[in-house]
Symmetry: C2
Subunit: 107 residues, 2 copies
């Protein structure tokens, strides 16, 4: 088995995002999907985009919104979010505190 | 998009486990992998087993151990754990408080 603490994984600025640090937690071991840790500063956001694979997210800490094509939904710690393939989405930290979530995608 | 709070998802006793409740968070939306929320009471554990697919886990709250074939490793909130396909593993809550983690597996 391999065990890491997310704080010990090097963080990169997410391409196209703002005030968003990403960490790839399982660079080894998984053949089928990637688990990323995303940390949004207040006012931070991911790019508004869509792609041919689904997203699964789980909010670890904080709150914000997910902006889709036709809706904007609030998210808080404990929420699980499914974004089907092809659906536009953007996460925004609308609060005064850090927003942290896991984002899982197929490889 | 679909958003649920894990506490609103029906929990089932995990087969082969003890004092372990499981919730399937993304029953819709993902074609490739499943995200499960696992809640271990003090003294709770998952079955000691191995299988042909990998596990990826992330500890949300609490602490415990993962018991493998040749090692026992401590886990705390913030740890990401990769279990390769075919490797024996068991999670145990060795603390006096609830242990919660996400466990992702390919579909």
């Amino acid at each position: 088995m391999k065990i890491v603490h997310y704080e010990d994984v090097e963080a990169d600025e997410a391409e196209g995002g703002s005030k968003l640090k990403m960490r790839f937690l399982n660079t080894e071991g998984s053949e089928t999907f990637a688990v990323r840790h995303c940390e949004f500063e207040p006012g931070g956001c991911s790019p508004s985009h869509s792609h041919s694979w689904e997203h699964e997210m789980f909010v670890l800490e904080g709150q914000g919104v997910v902006v889709g094509d036709n809706e904007t939904r609030a998210i808080v710690a404990g929420n699980a979010i499914s974004i089907p393939a092809g659906e536009k989405h953007q996460v925004r930290n609308t609060s005064e505190k850090t927003l942290r979530l896991l984002c899982m995608i197929p490889k």
